[in-house]
C-alpha cells in the first residue's frame, strides 16, 4: 500500500524525524489559510505548493494542458491562491503517471526550507528498503540528492553508498556515523544526520514499511537536517497489525474496478490491453498474459481467482473483466489440481447463463483432473464458448478470435 507525502511526513515526525512542515489543503481558500498559518510559525511569505498524488516526478510534471508544474513556489498569498487553483481538481501528468495522469485532490502547503543563511543548502538522497538478494534491510544514500536515483545509479554508480542492517542486532551507531561522514558532514549537521538516520530506520521497521524514500534529505543553510519529501510503501501483509496505517489508504488513488475486485477477494490488476484473462495462481496468470501477447493480443488485466475457482468466484471475476470496455475476448485458464475441472466448467456455464448477454468470445482452457469431461461439458453447453485442453490450443484460439 502507498500513502501520500503528507501522511508519510506525519509518520516520520512521530518517530522524531525532522521534516519540512506543511498543512494539507483541498481548496484554494484552505491553501491561503494554510499559508497564513505557516507565516505565523516560520515568518516567511514564501511557501511551496505540492500536489499530493501517489506518483513521483511531480516537480517536473505539468497539469494537463497547462504549464503549471505539480510542485511550485508561491511568494505571496495571491500566488498561493492562483497556483492551488491551477492544480486542485485537475489532472497532473508526470513521468510516473503515464499520459493519463492523476487527479489532484489535495495539495500540501509547505514551508520554504531553502532560505539563505550561514552555509549553502545541500540536498542528499536516502532510502531504506529490503535487499532481496541478502534478505536484509539496506540504507541507500548519495550526495546527489533531488535527482532520479536510477539515473544516478546508472551514470555514477560509485556515488551510491549502501549500508546493510544485520537483522539480529539492528542499526548500529557506527553505521549512522559512517553515513554522516560519507555525506561530507561535520559539526551540528553531522550530529543531526546521525539522529535523522536512526529515527528514519526506526520509523521504517516499526510500521512494517517496504520502502521509505526521502528525496531530498536537506541540509539547511543553518545546518539542520530534514526530510523535504517522503515516499512510503507499506508491506500489505503486515497491515493487519497497523490499523492506523491501513486507515490512511486513499481509494481515490486506485482504479475503482481494482477496489471492487479486492472486496470480492480477487487479485485483479487493470491493464491497457484487449484480451481479459482469469487464471488460478499468480504465476500461471502472468504466464497467461504472456501467451496473450505472443498470440497477437494485449492483456487487459491480471486476475488470479485463487485455488478454488468456484462458480461464484468465476462469475464475479467475469463481471469484473467485462466492466472494461476495451476487452474484446476473454481467456479463462485453469489448471485443475485439487479442484476438479468439470466443476470449474460447470461454474463457467452457470456464470455465463447468469450474466446473460456476453458480448465477447470466451475461450476456456481447463487442464488437470477431469479435463476431458470438462471440455465435453463446455462443448455441449450450446454457449459461444471455445474450449481447449493444451495451453498451445488456447493460444491458437486467442489468435484466431482476434483475427475475426
Amino acid at each position: 500500500m502507498n500513502i501520500h507525502e503528507y501522511q508519510a511526513k506525519e509518520i516520520l515526525k512521530q518517530y522524531g524525524v525532522t521534516v519540512q512542515e506543511g498543512i494539507v489543503a483541498t481548496s484554494p481558500e484552505e491553501a491561503v489559510e494554510a499559508a497564513k498559518k505557516l507565516k505565523e510559525l516560520y515568518n516567511s511569505d514564501w511557501v511551496v505548493i505540492k500536489s499530493q498524488i501517489h506518483a513521483g516526478g511531480r516537480g517536473k510534471g505539468k497539469i494537463d494542458g497547462t504549464e503549471q508544474r505539480g510542485v511550485a513556489l508561491a511568494k505571496n498569498l495571491e500566488q498561493v491562491k492562483e497556483i492551488s487553483h491551477n492544480i486542485l481538481g485537475n489532472i497532473l501528468v508526470t513521468i510516473q503517471t503515464g499520459a493519463k495522469g492523476k487527479r489532484v485532490n489535495k495539495v500540501l502547503v509547505a514551508q520554504d526550507v531553502y532560505y539563505p543563511g550561514e552555509s549553502s543548502p545541500k540536498e542528499f538522497y536516502m532510502s531504506v528498503l529490503l535487499d532481496r538478494a541478502t534478505g536484509q534491510n539496506v540504507i541507500i544514500y548519495t550526495t546527489e540528492g533531488g535527482m532520479d536515483i536510477e539515473e544516478v545509479a546508472h551514470n555514477t554508480p560509485d556515488k551510491i553508498y549502501k549500508e546493510w542492517i544485520d537483522p539480529l542486532v539492528g542499526l548500529q551507531s557506527f553505521q549512522t556515523r559512517k553515513i554522516a561522514f560519507n555525506l561530507g558532514l561535520s559539526g551540528k549537521a553531522f550530529k543531526e544526520m546521525t539522529a535523522f538516520v536512526t529515527s528514519l530506520y526506526n520509523a521504517y521497521t516499526n510500521i512494517d514499511a517496504s520502502m521509505f524514500e526521502i528525496n531530498p534529505v536537506l541540509k539547511t543553510s543553518d545546518n539542520r537536517i530534514l526530510a523535504v519529501d517522503g515516499k512510503v510503501g507499506i508491506d500489505d501483509n503486515a497491515l493487519y497489525r497497523h490499523p492506523e496505517i491501513a486507515a490512511l489508504r486513499d481509494f481515490e488513488e486506485e482504479d475503482p474496478t481494482e477496489v471492487e475486485a479486492g472486496e470480492y477477494d480477487l487479485n485483479y490488476v487493470k491493464l491497457d490491453g484487449n484480451v481479459g484473462c482469469m487464471v488460478n495462481g499468480a504465476g500461471l496468470a502472468m504466464a497467461t498474459m504472456d501467451i496473450i501477447k505472443l498470440s497477437g493480443g494485449d492483456p487487459a488485466n491480471f486476475l488470479d481467482v485463487g485455488g478454488t475457482a468456484s462458480a461464484e468466484r468465476v462469475e464475479k471475476a467475469m463481471r469484473i473483466i467485462l466492466k472494461d470496455p476495451n476487452v474484446k475476448a476473454i481467456l479463462i485458464n485453469i489448471f485443475g489440481g485439487i479442484v476438479r475441472c468439470d466443476r470449474v466448467a460447470q461454474g463457467v456455464v452457470d456464470a455465463y447463463n447468469n450474466i446473460g448477454n456476453i458480448p465477447v468470445p470466451i475461450i476456456v482452457r481447463l487442464q488437470g483432473t477431469n479435463a476431458e469431461e470438462a471440455k465435453k461439458l463446455i462443448d455441449q453447453s450450446g454457449l459461444k464458448v471455445r474450449s481447449a485442453i493444451a495451453l498451445k490450443e488456447a493460444a491458437e484460439a486467442v489468435s484466431e478470435v482476434l483475427k475475426n
Binding site: P167, L168, A238, N267, A282, L284, K293, D304, G368
Partner: protein
C-alpha cells in the same frame, strides 16, 4: 536418492488440526507420504488422521524422529513456526503459508541461518518426489516419476510444467516450489544446485518470474559450474507493468534488472534454453534432450 524429501523422510505437519492442515495432510497421507505426526499447541496427546498430535515440534521430534516439517500455520504465526522447527532440529522445513510479513521473515531467515536446516518457501506449493513423498499442496497425479527436476516460484505454473514434461514422454525426479515471496529460504540457485548434484536428475526446468535477482544468480552459477545438465527456463511476466505487484508479493518490477526481458537475456547468455511461451516447456525439454543424445 532424489532431493530434500524421499520415502524415508519422516514428516510432521505444523498447524495439523486446522482446516488447511487437515485437508492437505490427508491428501499427503493418501499419496503415500510418511506423515508421522503433527503439531497444534494445546492439542498434544490427541490423535488426528491416525497420527499423534504434539504440543511442540521438539516433542514431535523426540517421539517420532521427524526430520521434515510442513507448515500450514496462519501468516501472523508462521515465522515463529519456522523458527520452532529449526530449533527442534528439523532438517527440511517446507512453509506453505502465504502472506507472512516481510519483517517477520527477515528475522526468521537470520535465525535459521545458524542452524543446520533448509527452508523451502514460504508462499510455495511445497516439494514432491513422485512415488515417494508429497510434502506440499500440489496435485500428486500430475507428477509422474522420471528424471527431470523442476524449480519454480509458482504453484499452478509448476503443475503446468510437470504436465507438459509428462506429456512429452518424460517424468519428474523432484519438483521444488521455492515460493513467490520477496524473502524465501531456498533460492533458485540453491534448488538448482541440489538438482545438479542429484544423480537421479538428468535435466532441469527452471521457472521464474519478474522481481528479484534469483534467476540471474542461478544462471551465473550454472555456467560457472560448467552447465553440467541442460536447463530449460521460462520467465513469467513479460507483459507485466512496472511498479505493480502481480499476485505474488515478490512479483514486482522495481528496477530494470527485475524485468522478464533482462532475466531472459542473462539466462540465454549463460547457456540456458529459454522459451518465450509457457506452452513450449515440455516440447523444448524433449528437443534439448534428444539433441544431447545424438
Amino acid at each position: 536418492m532424489s532431493v530434500l524429501v524421499n520415502k524415508n523422510s519422516k514428516i510432521v505437519v505444523q498447524g495439523f488440526t486446522g482446516n488447511e492442515g487437515t485437508f492437505h495432510a490427508r491428501q499427503m497421507i493418501e499419496y503415500g507420504t510418511n506423515v508421522v505426526g503433527g503439531i497444534t499447541p494445546g492439542k498434544g496427546g490427541q490423535t488426528h488422521l491416525g497420527c499423534p498430535v504434539f504440543n511442540t515440534v521438539s516433542d514431535a521430534v523426540k517421539n517420532t524422529g521427524a526430520d521434515v516439517s510442513i507448515i500450514f500455520v496462519p501468516p501472523a504465526f508462521a515465522a515463529d513456526a519456522i523458527m520452532e522447527a529449526a530449533d527442534a532440529g528439523i532438517k527440511v522445513i517446507v512453509c506453505i503459508t502465504e502472506g507472512i510479513p516481510v519483517k517477520d521473515m527477515i528475522g526468521a531467515k537470520a535465525y535459521i541461518k545458524k542452524r543446520n536446516c533448509v527452508l523451502v518457501g514460504p508462499n510455495c506449493p511445497g516439494v514432491i518426489t513422485p512415488d515417494e513423498a508429497k510434502v506440499g499442496i500440489m496435485p500428486g497425479f500430475v507428477f509422474k516419476k522420471g528424471r527431470i527436476g523442476i524449480v519454480s516460484k509458482s504453484g499452478t505454473l509448476t503443475y503446468e510444467a510437470a504436465d507438459q514434461i509428462v506429456k512429452a514422454g518424460l517424468g519428474i525426479s523432484t519438483a521444488i516450489g521455492i515460493g513467490g515471496d520477496p524473502i524465501i529460504g531456498t533460492s533458485t540457485k540453491d534448488a538448482v544446485e541440489m538438482l545438479m548434484n542429484d544423480p537421479e536428475t538428468d535435466a532441469i526446468v527452471m521457472i521464474g518470474e519478474i522481481g528479484g535477482n534469483y534467476e540471474a544468480e542461478a544462471a551465473k552459477w550454472i555456467s560457472k559450474n560448467g552447465n553440467q545438465k541442460k536447463v530449460v527456463a521460462f520467465i513469467a511476466g513479460q507483459t507485466a507493468p512496472p511498479g505493480r505487484r502481480m499476485g505474488h508479493a515478490g512479483a514486482i518490477i522495481g528496477g530494470s534488472d527485475d524485468t522478464a526481458a533482462a532475466k531472459k537475456k542473462i539466462l540465454s547468455q549463460n547457456g540456458i534454453f529459454v522459451v518465450d511461451s509457457p506452452a513450449d516447456i515440455g516440447i523444448k525439454m524433449k528437443e534439448v534432450l534428444s539433441l544431447a543424445s545424438n
